[in-house]
Symmetry: C2
Subunit: 259 residues, 2 copies
Amino acid sequence: MSEIQRPGALYQQVAAAIREAILSGEFAPDSLLPSEAQLMARYGVSRPTVRNAIAALRAEGLIDVRHGKGSFVRSDGQPALTIERRISRTADGKFVMPNGDVWQETEEPSTYRTHTTKTTGQLLQLGEEEALFGCDRLLFDPSTGTRAMHRTLIPLVVADGIPLLGEEPCKRPAAFYRLLTEDGHKLTWSETVRARMPLPDERTTLQLPDATPILHLSRVTHDTDDRPLILEELRIGADRAELTYRITADKQPARRTRA
Amino acid sequence: MSEIQRPGALYQQVAAAIREAILSGEFAPDSLLPSEAQLMARYGVSRPTVRNAIAALRAEGLIDVRHGKGSFVRSDGQPALTIERRISRTADGKFVMPNGDVWQETEEPSTYRTHTTKTTGQLLQLGEEEALFGCDRLLFDPSTGTRAMHRTLIPLVVADGIPLLGEEPCKRPAAFYRLLTEDGHKLTWSETVRARMPLPDERTTLQLPDATPILHLSRVTHDTDDRPLILEELRIGADRAELTYRITADKQPARRTRA
DNA sequence: TGACGTCACTTGTCCTTACGAGTTAGGACT
DNA sequence: AGTCCTAACTCGTAAGGACAAGTGACGTCA
């Protein structure tokens, strides 16, 4: 029966004790923590107190609890997937953006028409309630088991102004970029990164564990005269993925990755 | 007494009902939700059930609860602070990185010597247990009330190999960059973005609300021959800040005429 | 008028009890 | 031997009670 000290509520003291045991290595990653009953006996508290302490540790992302089995120390492994945003400029002024096209589509993309919200309107420099093409896709990287939600939004004004095959560019942004580039446009882009807790549907779709935020990327591609053409959004679990932005002196040879 | 339907546990049904009411606008942002007692009466459930439902909504970041006052709908406002990472290359091949130097230091930076961990060793392309200079600073942006934790890590090997004033570069990375650039080095950098839930000390230091992840930036600056020179880390609450990476096509790329 | 104490509200903590549900191993029956 | 059932563990859900602690308003008293 290890003793409990001052700071604050009982369950916080229990949580602190367990947390310390985890961080000090007394409980190794992926190992099984004592059961609720054992923790009750160990600290001389009731079950709600133990569960409250465990809830706190779950919210911190320190442990995972599986019904009928027990609590496990979460392994603090690095994200399995690194999404590279390498930006290098070739001699003729074009950008090369190898976006790690490792994704598979798990189902047919769904296209629709919608309108700007406050957020998307701001990014696209439009007012609210402006008409948009939309396309949502569910992506999957089989090598790491990572899921992601992808969305493309194109203002109708833009889609109408350019000779394209209906909603096709919405489905295949890469083709859209290529088409524009070949057409002589000089594209620039800006990418915004946010992090937040997932909504319930995002949590299930992305199959996220407890206390796992999502990374939310919004990439806007601009025309030469700074007019926003297309907005791409990517949502992905922060436990699985990280982003790297790399600026290299142009025309670097392949970079050495050390494992 | 609005009725409750099928899916799953009672508290989840209550949570779903409240969530729906919030998202549908029945409860406006910043408005006060019914008290626990009122919710008990409304849905005909016990207090633990109501509290469990509320806990779920807190974990989702939908509501904030203040002791003695009640539960409030969290306003889904945009992050107040946008950290810009604009990368444009001037004609002579230099990078300009206006990092938004709006930060104030709230206390004297603390310098120390430490060693690489698994993560930092990987970023710096060093083994584990390699000696480092370290410097931690607490930053504050008075215009938005945003706090951030900044850390600089420089391998001793690098610090010794360059004529500098002791730990000074550790305190002032900008000076370090300027010095290197003036010395003819062509710097490249790569920045990794992660998101995760804060540890308790980060939560208190950054004064984070419930269910608020932190954005964790790791920027490594490389020498011409790809040798990592300095690692900067920035931790900041994702409720307050977002990152934008912007690539502009300002001028024609420079020829590499200079040795 | 002003200061202060009280009271009624809120959420926070902690306990007891009970049962439901997922998991696993071992024993009984075929 | 193989199959299946059961028992004993795990955590999940739900209810009830009691008191502590933070907040704000109101009323009393100096």
